[in-house]
Symmetry: C2
Subunit: 360 residues, 2 copies
């Protein structure tokens, strides 16, 4: 298969983790005789520094002509401490989601047996957790009208959802549930919000079309508790944009490190793959950033193009690295100084030689 | 002291847990020679069933003439499954908050040593956690305009904050930090939301007036993770209404049971005290509801009127009940069948006779 991949490393640890994901993809191409080409673009603070804006036209054009996108992370402390900055790195990411209409954000959360000691949760709580978020990504309060009063003393955000926005992510979520444990939980705040009432109404209608999927409805505050109290109860979690941001990041504690969670953002035409962690500025260029989330995002990219065998090989490589503790310090209790690129090298070696790879 | 207390037991387990809180208050009155009088009112589904609305005029009048309010819980499955119901139990609670202008919701989260085995979190993670939410309670998306398009296919919520709304809860939160560990964390989503940008701007201004308080700023998604990964880092958490609902309920997992968390809702003129748990319908009248959150809410009520010695006696009684496992089944690993009212009886006995009380 030929794939032209737009690579947007972004800020902070983005470039170093994405470099490992690209290494993995290159090895896969070699082993399976695919032709993967990579073209790099600027986004986030990296783009602001060079061009003055977070999502340059050139980058957007590159993404549109590519077959798919691999994205690192955006964000910079410079902007976090200036709530009034008009130009912000986040505009790069949010702009891509909107311009490419990447409405469905898929975030799998799978607990690894080998890492159960890294989770703050007791082992028996997290064993066998295997859930997956379907987060709506281009609607809601993120993209509603934002206004400030003239005197700067009043600010308003608007959260709108339409039937179409809800239906398209919902159908994908129901279909995913059909290929998994046939359970779907809608997360909303229908006892308070109008938009949540619309979600609940529409999901109730859609549920009839999927009689083999058991649907339940939970308020977001209850889910914030239940996700930790009893994560095994969940299979597919369908959730609107803002709540999805909060609850899916919370779910990272189950796994033991946010450096393990990958995501796919899918639209009708375009697709983008990114680790769910942020730019983690403080760690930049120190070789301590965990590349596994980026590498697993590359595996999700392969799955998107039905390259399941290839994706599975990457996942096996990751499993092996976790098992042997060829991992960055966030996960490692055995070895010091296993760096970002060392983990990437191990994954690369494993892909090239699944039978022989070991720590060397 | 003379206190006339409006008692609104509400729905589900509300009446049974509130009965225990009233018992505790009555014992306190006897021991300390106070005159506490109690006047009951309807709210929530209980009020809808009898009067057709969730917050009858009579109840509101009762609350306004009382010195303070003790509130149980509202909610009923009848309404949860009907997103289109025009009359809902929540209107009782939200109506009270708004009508009485109860803008500051205080939710302390303290990990009990004796209960560390009930938390899904490992013991070392939660030892010494002692944090407190200051949640804004009468603004934001809860009370903004809500609209549906005529065809019912589009819904909009509005989230507005004004300087005044932010300042009044913020000053209370900063003052609380001064009497505690001198740390305050603002939780927002200032990288995306206009209202969050306003929060961050105003808190930066106010922080200058409290040089002895160390302030930090975190995005809500990061807090959802950090609250579990490292809860000890927090002292006062200042948070807007919707995020506060989610994150404070999440915090209940640290303690081991949501049946332990009390809250105070304070305005310039009125005050209300309530457990943070809901109506928990399935448990109604089964004697399994944990009354401690309601009893600790009564202790917060006493503190509000500067009756610290009295409040401490209640807290000591609660500590003793936890230590001896005179607790409902959600917490108990030793005895079967210790009922809601049995826990209340123990607390009552302890208040009357702190030196002698034991299991009997
Ligand atoms: C960086 C930020 C705008 C983004 C979001 O809030 O969606 C991030 O937290 C995420 O979850 O991908
Ligand atoms: C019952 C509901 C409206 C309420 C809220 O969302 O504020 C509750 O969850 C709470 O936190 O007190």
């Amino acid at each position: 298969m030929k794939l032209h991949i737009a690579v947007l490393p972004g800020d902070g640890i983005g470039p170093e983790v994405i470099a490992q994901a690209v290494k993995a993809l290159k090895s896969i191409a070699t082993v399976y005789d695919h032709i993967f080409t990579f073209e790099y673009g600027l986004v986030g603070a990296a783009a602001i520094n060079k061009t003055g804006i977070a999502l340059p036209e050139e980058t957007l054009a590159l993404c549109k002509k590519a077959d798919t996108i691999l994205f690192g992370a955006i964000g910079s402390p410079k902007y976090e401490n200036d709530p009034e900055a008009k130009i912000r790195p986040e505009q790069g990411l949010l702009g891509l989601r909107k311009e490419l209409d990447l409405h469905t954000n898929i975030r799998p959360v799978v607990a690894y047996e080998d890492l159960s000691n890294k989770s703050p949760l007791r082992k028996k709580w997290i064993k066998d957790v295997n859930l997956c978020f379907y987060r709506e990504l281009t609607g809601g309060i993120y993209f509603g009208e934002k206004t400030f009063s003239e005197d700067g003393n009043t600010a308003t955000d608007t959260c709108t959802y339409t039937r179409n926005e809800i239906e398209r992510v919902a159908h994908r979520a129901f279909k995913a549930a059909q290929s998994r444990k046939h359970k779907l939980t809608l997360v909303d705040k229908a006892n308070v919000l109008a938009s949540s009432k619309l979600w609940r109404k529409i999901i109730k209608e859609i549920a009839i079309q999927y009689p083999d999927v058991a649907v339940n409805y939970l308020y977001v505050d209850q889910v914030a508790m239940q996700l930790i109290l009893n994560p095994k109860q969940f299979d597919i979690i369908l959730i609107e944009n803002m709540f999805g941001d909060i609850i899916s990041e919370e779910a990272s504690v189950i796994v033991g490190s946010i450096g393990l969670l990958a995501s796919a953002s899918i639209g009708d035409k375009y697709s983008m793959f990114e680790p769910i962690h942020g730019a983690y500025y403080k760690a930049t260029d120190r070789g301590i950033a965990n590349p596994i989330a980026a590498i697993l995002s590359a595996a999700m990219l392969l799955e998107h193009f039905d390259l399941y065998e290839e994706a599975n090989l990457i996942k096996k490589a990751v499993d092996k690295s976790l098992q042997l503790q060829i991992t960055t310090p966030d996960l490692n209790t055995k070895y010091d100084n296993i760096s970002t690129s060392k983990v990437g090298d191990f994954i690369e070696d494993f892909i090239n030689n699944p039978e022989e790879t070991n720590l060397n």
